[in-house]
Amino acid sequence: MKERIQTRTKRSLQIVAGIILLASMGFAGYFYIQSHEQIIEPDVPSQIVVDPSKVQGRATAEVGYRSPFEKPKKLISTTSARTPLQDLYGTITPADLHFERHHAGIPEIDPEQHELLIHGLLAKPIRLTLADLKRYPSVSRICFIECSGNFRYGKREMTPQEVCGLTSQSEWTGVLLSTILKDLGVKSSAKWFLAEGADGALMARSVPLEEALPEAIIAYGQNGEAIRPQQGYPMRLVIPGFEGNTQIKWLRRIELTDKPVMTREETSKYTEKIKDGKIRMFSLVMDARSIITYPAYPKTIEKGWQEIRGIAWSGRGKVKQVLVSTDNGVHWNEAHIQGPVLEKAHTAFRFMWNWDGKPTRILSKVIDETGYVQPTYNELVEARESKGGYHFNPIVGWDIDKNGSAYLAKVEDIN
């Protein structure tokens, strides 16, 4: 009896082993075919793999698309999305790759329901719809928008996107704020205005009237199309050169005031600790900045000629000069800057470099038209007695190792 049970157990064990063996063979075969198939037929549309000159291409489509070989992506967190600076060419950011920073998500706004109220220290308060706004004489302007909290560091494996991807550039179209205010009888006591969004945070910032007025635009167009929801559809404030947070998206109210309102965003946030225990507020203009976007982590270069590429910008006007060093700051060479150079705009710079294959460090620094020279991290730390925070714009660069791989240079070591 006991023996029979043992035999039965033995037989069932044999059956189980057989099943396992067969199953594993099946799996192995499946994976073999899979991997083999991938080698023979890559997972891309066949028109691209075969000779494209021997087949009909795709039909036209109402909306275009990127090549399936190109996959630039924003790097996202719950409240922000960073522009892939290392994947872009020239200076315009595609609208769907423009950086984002919001305080209560992206509202979905029906433009028919949306209104802009302009009131406060003026004789004639008004309500404007998007259609009203579009009837005013319009302007276009290419400029960057940068978040003032746009510097990250701390490890070697960081891309330009991770270091300072909260800056993007578009052509904005809309109405000059001065065009609208002209009619409204602005009182001489009006020195500031509060701009407020229609999002869940009712994001609000106070802006000095005289400084913003020459260039402030209430924009409804971005790179030729309507502003995207992420960028403030149907209308936003654009103040070239000012910190991103003041350029209120989903704009619904402008109130002229005598003094700043002192909202949370201009007191507890967007202020920075500086020397002697002070806290600086209303640091509204973005300081000059540059970054090499090629070669940069995670790229690897070959020995020989390279074009070092990057962008430089200043909230105070035009980029005057960009200097590039390929020997860790021992020598600085003037980079070619792409004209026409625009005020308060990302400006492309280029420098041809013959890499000899030895490990080195490449750096860039910008000088703007006011004579401001982009500082080193150590200079900023010393001047402010602070190791970061808003408006931190130090020189950054890349260590090229013997294999040609680029890694973010330690900012503390750049002099």
Binding site: H103, A104, L117, H119, L122, A123, P125, I126, R127, L128, D132, R135, Y136, P137, V139, S178, I180, L181, D183, V186, K187, S188, S189, E196, G200, L202, A204, L213, P214, R253, E255, T257, V261, M262, T263, R264, T267, S268, I274, G277, K278, I279, R280, M281, F282, S283, L284, V285, G317, P340, E343, D368, T370, Y372, V373, P375, E379, L380, A383, R384
Partner: protein, 209 residues
Amino acid sequence: MQGNILTSLYAFGLMFLSSFFLARCSFNKEETVEIDSLHAYHTSWDDGLEDYRKTWPGRFDMGKPADAKFIAKWDIDVRPDGKGLPKEGAGTVKSGAVLYQAKCAACHGVNGYEGPYDKLVTDSTGKNTIGNYWPYASTIFDYVRRAMPFNAPGSLTDQEVYDITAYLLYSNEIIKADDVINSETLPQIEMPALKRYVIDDRKGGQEIR
């Protein structure tokens, strides 16, 4: 003769009264700014704009006038001098403590410093809080009414916002347990951090600050 004197007295009287009236008018009517004078044409984006402007009508008359009722509905900002604070309502620490636990503690911690989100109450870490970093007490009212609680922004009544403001000021040891926060008392509160604040005065150039 007497008639002449009376007439001139009458004339002087009229002149005096009318000049007084005119003076009053000009005192009441504040001067307006010529916006064009503030618009400096200084970037290449302004090329030709000055000439283009000459072809514009004197007025655009776009949109529609905003009446006081509409403005009142949207005009929610509260300023350091108390402008914008509701006259109705007075906040107490006791009511604020109850509301805080129900509406705020999940994000900011039961004591206001445990997180997971922004620290509101000063603790030993020295991280920025209302007590050690915020320069104006009015900002608490403005922000809480504007944007909080995170899961239902703008859902608090003015009374609730007063209560929560009182509680947050008390938790940061700025007011006492039985102090009341209303449109009179809130603007009088001096925040400890105010004296540390300076306004940016950098204008470019070679200096690094």
